[in-house]
């Protein structure tokens, strides 16, 4: 029995720790595990989660994307401003295309020209921040007419489930299928695991990495649409620091930054954990910044235990 328990802990240590945390908070704060609170938390994490879905593809392919936070800011400004100019339909199309273009630019430099992903996306972070300010002129933009169907993405609901959660869940399901069951998904794992071997087995690594970044741009665009619709406006700093929160979620889920392993399900779990930790600590009466300390501890512990389980020992 104890052997089984050890094996369970090793395989699903993260899940066990998470369940323990949930139980602990639920005992202390009655409101924690009520359906309405759970849905609230899920709605709150759906924007970070949406971005994390695309970033997971990039990370599994062995690369990094630090530009998604700035990209979210720019795209939110675009979707809000264009909704005022063109109406929601065209605005959403423009936003999706802009996200795709930003992702394609990253993908071109990292995938095709093989430049260092960290620096390319860092440069992009700075560049997109500049572009946002140039576009908005530094002022906040607001949706002029809040009664159009543009409000549905952030504020609507389907059978009592908030629309952001529905969009996030559907996207997660589709992308989980893509990553796990399609040729493209397997190519992502192959490139992230061993790029040379992938190339020799006939996979065009350049194209695969390029496509992963395009996907990351696209999911960020969807996140921006939810954000713009939720807030009915956009500030010039709205996505600042999101890139690191997104990465924290991906890592917490157990996707390795070295590439070649991970899954959409793990990312969803990681992002949900971030949300429930934040919510739980707030409900227990701690100031919001205590969650950062807890996140620090949990990231280190989760990744360390994960690595230790793979190696069979805990110290390197």
């Amino acid at each position: 029995m104890s052997l089984h328990f050890a094996a369970l802990l090793r395989r699903h240590g993260l899940l066990v720790a998470f369940a323990l945390f949930l139980a602990l908070v639920a005992v202390q704060a009655e409101a924690f595990l009520t359906p309405s609170n759970v849905l609230d938390v899920l709605r709150q994490v759906s924007i970070i989660g949406m971005m994390a879905l695309g970033v997971t593809f990039v990370v599994v392919a062995g690369r990094l994307d630090l530009s998604v936070g700035s990209m979210l800011t720019l795209l939110t400004v675009i979707v809000v401003d264009r909704t005022n100019a063109f109406g929601p339909g065209l605005a959403i199309l423009v936003t999706l295309l802009a996200g795709l273009a930003a992702g394609a630019w990253n993908g071109l430099l990292v995938g095709v020209f093989r430049l260092n992903a960290l620096i390319v996306t860092l440069a992009m972070l700075s560049f997109l921040q500049g572009l946002t300010l140039a576009y908005s002129g530094g002022s906040n933009v607001n949706v002029a007419d809040g009664t159009t169907w543009f409000a549905a993405f952030g504020r609507g609901s389907l059978w009592g489930i908030p629309a952001p959660v529905v969009i996030f869940a559907l996207s997660a399901a589709v992308l989980a299928f893509v990553l796990k069951r399609t040729r493209f998904g397997r190519a992502i794992f192959a490139v992230g695991g061993n790029e040379t071997a992938a190339t020799y087995s006939g996979i065009d690594a350049r194209l695969v990495v390029f496509a992963a970044y395009c996907l990351s741009g696209l999911t960020t665009a969807i996140a921006a649409i939810i954000m713009g619709s939720r807030v009915m406006g956009a500030q010039n700093t709205i996505g600042q620091g999101y890139e690191l929160t997104v990465l924290a979620g991906v890592i917490l889920g157990g996707t390795s930054l070295l590439g070649g392993s991970g899954s959409i399900g793990r990312t969803v779990l990681g992002v949900a954990m971030l949300g429930f930790i934040q919510n739980g600590l707030l409900l227990m009466g701690y100031p919001y910044y205590v969650q950062w300390l807890v996140t620090w501890g949990i990231i280190i512990l989760a990744v360390w235990i994960d690595l230790g389980a793979k190696r069979g020992r805990i110290l390197a």
Binding site: M124, F127, Q129, L293
Partner: protein, 322 residues
């Protein structure tokens, strides 16, 4: 001198320029801004520019060692904020200099913690220090209670107001630390082995180098440098803001990479980093003097970084072709 020597010399000169492209680039930016703005090439402005750049510079000194080792430290901005807060907040209870020493020790301790976790767990330093970035910022907020701390005795802000000609104490500390650690890199065993570990960990390990010890030492140095920058910032501002140093880690990495040090480790120097820090400072200062909006600055930074990366790639390809 034979005919064949001239092209070879030209090639050598070309190589030198490509390897030290940052200094050529710095000279170019200085020249451009000198022509563009009458206020740029004044002793006063250059002195200010060096002081402004020195904070990122001091962070970059520690970061360079960590990057040469093949690792990265994302937590320097948060560590800077914590040291800044401790140096000011502890003054009333334990006195000025003990508070400064405590701030220094806190930085060193957090660096040591990062180093120990990286070395013992075998985790990617990006993950470890990303966690630390989030957590240390939490510590800052817990300590300051979200408020900006203000120094009670303003004599404290006079400490850093020491000038050697146009050079402020902050700038002098930056140049002094860069020179000292450059000496450490080229003339000590720890320095040489730092390059060896960054270039090829497995080979370094097989050659009998204690890889873990070098990483721990360099992370500790990096944390200490962040504390030094934080203490100097607290002296300059007289206040400690909980959000101080946010995304400075990214500017620091940009400065190091701009200088020509490679993120993959094993290649680079503190001279390059000084060049990168100065170029960044000149660009920011010069663009502001020309009254360019903030967004141009951000876009130019992004462009320059990509340029540096492309140059480095060109150099690597040439070396590979030979």
């Amino acid at each position: 001198m034979s005919v064949a020597e001239t092209p070879r010399r030209a090639v050598a000169a070309g190589d030198w320029i490509m390897r030290n492209h940052i200094w050529v680039f710095l000279a170019l930016t200085v020249a451009v801004f000198s022509f563009a703005s009458p206020y740029f090439l004044t002793v006063n402005n250059l002195g200010n520019l060096l002081t402004q750049g020195a904070f990122i510079g001091i962070l970059a000194v520690g970061m360079t060692l960590v990057i040469l080792n093949g690792e990265i430290d994302l937590s320097v901005g948060a560590t800077l904020a914590l040291s800044c807060a401790l140096a000011i907040g502890l003054q009333t209870s334990i006195g000025t200099w003990p508070a400064v020493i405590a701030a220094l020790l806190a930085g060193a301790g957090l660096g040591l913690l990062n180093g120990l976790v990286v070395a013992l767990s075998g985790m990617h330093s990006f993950v470890v220090t990303l966690g630390a970035l989030i957590g240390i910022r939490g510590l800052v907020f817990v300590y300051t209670g979200e408020n900006a701390l203000m120094v009670e005795d303003f004599a404290y802000t006079e400490i850093a107001e020491v000038y050697l000609g146009p050079l402020s104490l902050t700038a002098l500390v930056f140049f002094g630390l860069a020179a000292a650690f450059q000496w450490l890199l080229t003339n000590t065993r720890h320095g040489r082995e730092t390059y060896a570990v960054g270039d090829n960990v497995a080979a370094a390990h097989d050659a009998g180098i204690n890889v873990k010890r070098h990483k721990i030492v360099n992370f500790t140095i990096c944390g200490t440098m962040a504390a030094v920058a934080g203490i100097l910032l607290s002296m300059r501002l007289g206040t400690a803001e909980p959000n101080a140093g946010r995304i400075w880690e990214l500017w620091t990495i940009i400065a190091v990479v701009l200088g020509g040090t490679r993120l993959s480790g094993g290649y680079g120097s503190l001279w390059m980093t000084v060049g990168g820090v100065l170029t960044l400072a000149v660009l920011r200062n010069g663009l502001r003097l020309l009254n360019t909006p903030n967004y141009v600055e951000l876009m130019v930074m992004g462009g320059v970084l990509l340029l540096a990366l492309a140059l480095d790639r060109a150099l690597l390809t040439r070396e590979g072709a030979r």
